[in-house]
Amino acid sequence: MVQAQATQQPLYEGAEWTFKKLDLVFDAIEEIAKKELGLDVYPNQIEVITAEQMLDAYSGIGMPLMYNHWSFGKSFVRDEFYYRKGMRGLAYEIVINSSPCISYVMEENSMTMQALVIAHAAFGHNHFFKNNHLFRQWTDAEAILDYMHFARKYIGKCEERYGVEAVEELLDAAHALRENAVDRYSRPAKLSHEMERQRMEARQEHERTSYRDIWRTLPERSKDEDEKAKSERQKQIIKKLGLPEANLLYFLEKHSPALQEWQREILRIVRNIAQYFYPQKQTKVMNEGCACFCHYFIMNRLFDKGLITEGSMLEFIDYHTRVVAQPDFDDPRWNGINPYALGFAMMQDIYRICHSPTEEDRAWFPDIAGCGEGIAVLKDAWANFRDESFILQFLSPKLIRDFRLFQIHDNSALPHLKVEAIHNEQGYRKIRSALAKSYTVSAMDLDIQVADVEFDGDRALTLRHMVHNDVPIEGKEAEEVMKRVAQLWGYDVGLYCEDAVNGKILATYDVTLS
C-alpha cells in the first residue's frame, strides 16, 4: 500500500460511535471505495441493531423477513444458549443481497468496528452481489424483499385457513428437500399459448389426413404388443415430464398428484428461497475474500490519509487477523478451511502477482503477472468466477506453500490414509485441482434425480442417486427424507443408489403407503 503523509484530522477518536461519526466515516469510505477501487454497488441501507435482534436475524437464516417455522425457533434457542453461555460470539454484521443492500451492524461494535463493517459489508459484499455472474443470473436483488414479504404473508394466511399443523407438516417436508430444490441450469422458455395452439392444430391435421378406416379391421393386439405400447407410452410420459429432473421440489410442485394449489405455492416459496441462496453457497470463498480485500484496502487508505488514529488502526488489525486466521489441521480450533482466510489470501496474492511478480508467478500466470492492474484483474475475477473456477485459475504455488497445503486420499476400504501431494513442484497442480473440486456443487450436494414415474400402474415415483467415488448416502436420514417425499407425492416412492461407474445398485430406500 502506498504510504501517504497524514494530511487530515482523524474523523473520530475513541471507541464510542455516534450517528454523526458514522455518517462521516461512511462518506470517507465511500470515496475510497468508489474513486480508488471503483466499486459498483447497490444503494446502501445500514441498520443498527441490538445483540438480541442479531440473534433474531440469525434464526431467520439472515433474512429480515421470514415466514414462521419451528426450525427457526430451534436455531434461535440454540444460538441464544451458546451466546448466553459465552461459548460463541455473534457476527459483527449481516448483509443481505438486496437492492437497496441492507447491512445490519451491532450496537455493541466500537467505532472502528463499525468502520470495518461498513467497508466489509456495505461495499465489499455489496459489490460482489451486484457484479458476480451467479448472483446476476439467479437472484433478483430488487425483488427479494417484496418476495419475502409476500411469502411471509401467504404462509401466514395458509396457517389461518388450513391450520398451523397442516402448514408445518408441509414445510417440514419441503425443508427436507431444500438442498435438492435448485435449478442448476435455466429451463427452456415456455411455449407461448399461440405456439401451443398451432402445434395442437398441426397434430390434429396430421391425424385427420392420415386416417385410414381400414385399420379398424386389424386383429386385436397381442399381449406383447400391449406391453410394448405401454412402455412406449411410459417413455412419452417421461419425456413430457422432462425426466430426469434434479430439482426434486420443482418436480413435486408441478406434477405431484396429491397436492392442492396452496401447497404447490408453498413449495414454490421454499424452492425460490433455496434458489436465492444457491449462489452464496458456491461463492463463499470469493465473496468473503472480496469483502476482506475491500475492508483491508479501505482501512489502510483511511489510515494513510490520516482519517483514523493509530489506535483505531491497531484495533482494526487485531480484528482483521482474527477473522482471517487459518488454524492448522491438527489445531484444536481446526474447523475446515476458513473461507475468509483463503479468500483474503488469494485476493492479496493476485494483487501481488499483478504488481510485483516473481519468476514463478510469470510462469504460472503469464496473463496477469506484472500487468500493474491489480484492482481491475480482481474485479474481473469477482464478476466472472465462482469458488471452484476461481481456485482452479488463481491459486498460486506461493499460497500453497504459505498455507502448507497437502492432499490426503481417504479410501475407507484401506486401513491408512495416503498423502497424495504436498507443497512441492509435483504437488501444486494436484492440490490446486483437488481443492477446487472440493468447492464444486457436486461435492456439496448429492446427485439425486427423479428417474421414473409409473403413471399406468400404482403411480410410484422413483428417484435415483448416482454414487460417485463410492461415497454413499447417509442411510438413516435418507429414510426420513423419503417419508417426506412420499408425503408430498401421495403414492409410493423409492430411491435407488446406483454406482455411476458400473451401474450396480448399491442400496434402495422405499416407502410404501398402505
Binding site: I46, F403, F406, I408, A413, V419, D470, P472, A478
Partner: protein, 434 residues
C-alpha cells in the same frame, strides 16, 4: 443518499412465534422426560437438576447428505509439518479431525448428539400448562408480603462486610497508575543503586541526586496512598417486596399391612407430582412426611416410602400428628400449607368422629389445599365401583367435600391414572366449567 437506520427500538422478540412453535413441537419429548424423571427420582429431586435434555427425535431436520465415513475422497488440509508425498498415515480416531461430523452438529442437523436443554421454568411450564392453583389460594398468596434482598450494582458507601475487593482494587490500580505512584520495584532498584554507590564510599554528586530522588519518591508514595477511600466500592443491595413464597407440604400415608408396595408406589408418584407443582409456584417448599398405622410418626423420606410397619389403622393419629406439627412449626399466617393423604381407605370404625372433628376444626380451615387419594388394586376397584360400597375413610371424607372447597378426593388404580387425576384436581377453572 445514504441513511443509517436505528432499529434498536423496534419491538423485541421477533422470533418469539418461532420459539413457541419449537416448544410446542418439543412438548411430547418434554412430557416424556418428566415422566421418566418421576419414575426414578426422589420426591424433591424431580425437576431440580436445572436442565433436562431432550432427545432430538422429531426435532431433527433430515436431508440427503453424504456419509463421509465410507468411500473414497480427497481432502486438502493446511499446515503440513512432516508429511511428504506417498506417506501412509494412521486413520485418526473418529470425530478427531473429521470436518463432516463437526459441521453437521453445529448446524444441528441430524446429529443424535445434539441435545437441546430447556430451562427448568420452561420445562415445568410446559408440563403444568393446563394447571393452576385454585383461585382462593392465589389471593392469600398475595397477602403475605416479604422482603428479599437483591443485588443492585455498586455504591461508594456501605458496610465493610459488603466491600467488593475486586472493584476496589481495580480502581486503586487505575488511580495508582494514572497518578504515577512509584512502585516497589522502582524504589528497590534505586535503593540498591544507592547502596552500591555508598559501598564504594565516595560522596559524589550522583549519589546525592539519587538520594534526593529517593526521598522525593518516598514522599510521593506517602502522598498517594495504596488504597484511597475514593477507590472503595461496596456491593449494593436493595430490598424488594415479594409475596410469601414459603410452602409446606404434608405427605400423609397409611403404611399398615393392607397397603401393598404397588399402592405405596402410586402414592409416591402422586406426592412427587404435587411437590413438583408446588415448587413451580413457591420458591421454597418444605416437606413433612407422616406415616401411620394405629400410631403416627414423622419420618424422613426414605423410611416413609420403604420401611414396613404392622399394626391396625387409625387415621386420626396422623391427623393429630399433623395438627401438632402445624402448631409447633408452621404458624398459619406465615406458611402456605398443603397436604396430600394417601390410603387404601381402611380405618377403624370407632375413629370416624375423631377424624371428622380434626379435619373440620384443626386442619382444613388452615390448609390451602388438602387432597385425599385412595389407592387400590383392580379387584378392589370392582368392589367399590358401586356408589353404595365405599371404604370407611371415603365415606367420612365425602361429607367434607361439601363444606370445604379446598378439599378434594380421588381414586387411583394404575400409575397411568396419576397424572390425569392430578390434572383433574388442579385443572384451570375455566376448563372445568366448560
Amino acid at each position: 443518499m445514504m441513511h443509517f437506520i436505528d432499529r434498536r427500538l423496534n419491538p423485541k422478540g421477533k422470533s418469539l412465534p418461532n420459539r413457541q412453535r419449537f416448544i410446542r413441537r418439543a412438548r411430547t419429548q418434554i412430557r416424556k422426560a418428566v415422566k421418566d424423571a418421576i419414575n426414578d427420582g426422589k420426591v424433591a429431586d424431580v425437576g431440580h437438576k436445572g436442565r433436562i435434555s431432550i432427545p432430538t427425535k422429531g426435532l431433527n431436520e433430515p436431508r440427503f447428505r453424504y456419509d463421509y465415513s465410507k468411500g473414497k475422497h480427497d481432502r486438502i488440509l493446511p499446515g503440513n509439518k512432516e508429511f511428504s508425498t506417498g506417506d501412509q498415515i494412521k486413520r485418526p480416531p473418529k470425530g478427531g479431525e473429521g470436518e463432516g461430523g463437526k459441521k453437521a452438529s453445529e448446524e444441528g442437523d441430524g446429529e443424535d448428539s445434539f441435545q437441546f436443554s430447556l430451562s427448568r421454568e420452561e420445562f415445568l411450564e410446559v408440563f403444568f400448562e393446563d394447571l393452576e392453583l385454585p383461585d382462593l389460594i392465589k389471593t392469600s398468596l398475595k397477602e403475605e408480603v416479604d422482603f428479599e434482598k437483591q443485588r443492585a450494582g455498586y455504591v461508594r458507601s456501605g458496610s465493610p462486610s459488603n466491600m467488593d475487593l475486586k472493584r476496589t482494587m481495580r480502581h486503586s490500580l487505575a488511580r495508582r497508575i494514572s497518578m504515577k505512584r512509584p512502585g516497589n520495584e522502582e524504589l528497590d532498584e534505586l535503593r540498591a543503586e544507592i547502596l552500591a554507590l555508598e559501598a564504594k564510599g565516595r560522596k559524589t554528586q550522583k549519589l546525592k541526586t539519587m538520594q534526593e530522588k529517593l526521598e522525593r519518591l518516598e514522599k510521593r508514595r506517602r502522598f498517594i496512598p495504596y488504597i484511597d477511600p475514593l477507590d472503595v466500592r461496596y456491593k449494593s443491595f436493595i430490598k424488594i417486596p415479594k409475596p410469601n413464597t414459603h410452602a409446606v407440604m404434608f405427605c400423609l400415608m397409611d403404611v399398615s399391612g393392607s397397603m401393598s408396595e404397588g399402592m405405596k408406589d402410586l402414592a409416591k408418584r402422586f406426592f412427587m407430582l404435587l411437590h413438583l407443582f408446588l415448587s413451580t409456584q413457591y420458591e421454597r417448599v418444605e416437606l413433612v412426611f407422616i406415616r401411620h398405622t394405629h400410631l403416627a410418626k414423622e419420618v424422613d423420606e426414605e423410611t416413609f416410602f420403604y420401611s414396613r410397619e404392622t399394626g391396625g389403622t387409625i387415621v386420626s393419629s396422623a391427623l393429630e400428628e399433623m395438627k401438632t406439627i402445624l402448631e409447633d412449626r408452621y404458624p398459619q399466617g406465615e406458611w402456605n400449607i398443603y397436604a396430600a393423604q394417601a390410603s387404601d381407605g381402611d380405618n377403624f370404625a370407632s375413629d370416624r368422629e375423631k377424624c371428622l372433628e380434626l379435619m373440620n376444626e384443626a386442619i382444613l380451615p388452615f390448609c390451602q389445599y388438602f387432597a385425599y387419594i385412595e389407592v387400590m388394586d383392580e379387584q378392589e376397584l370392582e368392589i367399590f365401583k358401586d356408589e353404595q360400597n365405599m371404604t370407611d375413610l371415603w365415606r367420612i371424607y365425602a361429607q367434607l367435600t361439601e363444606t370445604f372447597e379446598n378439599f378434594a378426593m380421588r381414586r387411583v388404580v394404575k400409575p397411568n391414572d396419576i397424572f390425569p387425576v392430578f390434572k383433574d384436581l388442579f385443572a384451570k377453572e375455566q376448563a372445568k366449567k366448560a
